[in-house]
């Protein structure tokens, strides 16, 4: 058997697709019972903990992005990261908070936000999160 014959991950994907209901493909022919033919081996499946981040222990389906490695690799966005375990929950719901502050302070915040290239909401939220005690 040549080395190229072993590249069958695509084939295994195809065989999975063909098992889905509603897929109009030729039904598989029943296999003839023969002592020489071994029973078909179940295909490789993803590990049960494949989507569990090894550091945070959180479920992160976007970790699978690493499976499309190579030039098309993009940094993970939105999913839990190692930093999340230090900084806190990433998926918290965002709510409005109206606070009265001196005009000069608002000006400083705007300047800082512009200099750092972030929104004023993000800047204030990160300052507050850093200043308050962690749970």
């Amino acid at each position: 058997m040549s080395a190229s014959d072993s590249v069958n991950s695509k084939n295994s994907k195809k065989s999975k697709k063909s098992k889905k209901p509603g897929n109009h493909e030729q039904p598989e022919k029943p296999q003839q019972s023969s002592a020489a033919t071994p029973p078909p081996r179940p295909a490789l499946s993803r590990a049960a903990d494949a989507d569990v981040h090894p550091v945070t222990g959180r479920i992160a389906p976007s970790i699978g992005a690493g499976r499309s490695a190579g030039r098309s690799f993009k940094p993970m966005k939105g999913g839990p990261t190692t930093a999340d375990s230090i900084m806190g929950e990433a998926g918290d719901k965002l709510v409005d908070l109206g606070v009265r502050v001196p005009k000069s302070l608002r000006k400083k915040l705007r300047q800082q936000a512009k200099a750092r290239g972030v929104s004023i909401d993000d800047l204030v939220a990160s300052i507050l999160a850093a200043a308050l005690p962690r749970d």
Partner: protein, 269 residues
Amino acid sequence: MSVTVAVLSLKGGVGKSSVTVGLAGAAWQRDRSVLVIDCDPQANSTLCLDVPPHTFTLSDVLADGRPGIASEAIVPSGWGPRVHVIPSEEALAHRDTATMPSSAARLRLSLTGVADRYDLVLLDCPPSLGELTRNALAAADLALIVTEPGFFALRGAQQALRAIEVASTSINLGLRPAGIVVNRVRANLTEHTYRVDELRQAYPNLILDPVIPERTAVQQAQGACVPVQAWPSPGAREITEAFDDLIDALLSAHSRPQTAIIPATREHS
């Protein structure tokens, strides 16, 4: 004849992945079939070999562990039809702890009937003596130690030799040291020359020649996801020749009788 080589060092950053892909490139240049198994959750070899989007990784293979199942995780690399990869991913770190006494043999079992299809199988180990490295040592015919000319790296090489010694008397009786590759050598530095000489004195039979010089072309080729052998620069040609000699040394090490590493290891400790 197929040969399976574990590329290891218990110190990080010495260039295990660089040596692995360098050897894969040397095999690619000779039109030999090569399978690179990325055992490091950092997945640097996977990235460098320009692997297309894939479904399964070594983590899934080790979680399954059935004989021959590794064939289902093999994907072609971007380097050509004769360079294949079993990719890694972050979640492979879950497999770095022993779950049962026999878990070190899972990779060897999963490669049953798979490794024989290739001229060369390269196992890129993580920089630790966890279950992933033990799996690689259990599956390999030869163990290639990578080091750089520095004090910490020399200690790492010494520890790696001890690990090979233990593995060859427990989990893999057929395992043999292929030698020590000295990587990232800058010949103009006195410290590097001193450390290389020190290594040659400590392990006279194990230091492989030539040493691999530090050249920018290695990083440039890795960044472009191409073999360094295909990179057009004088530095790349120098590296190409070094890896060419190295792959010859590896193949000859596979065919010669066992090298005694135990006395040298004890002398140096």
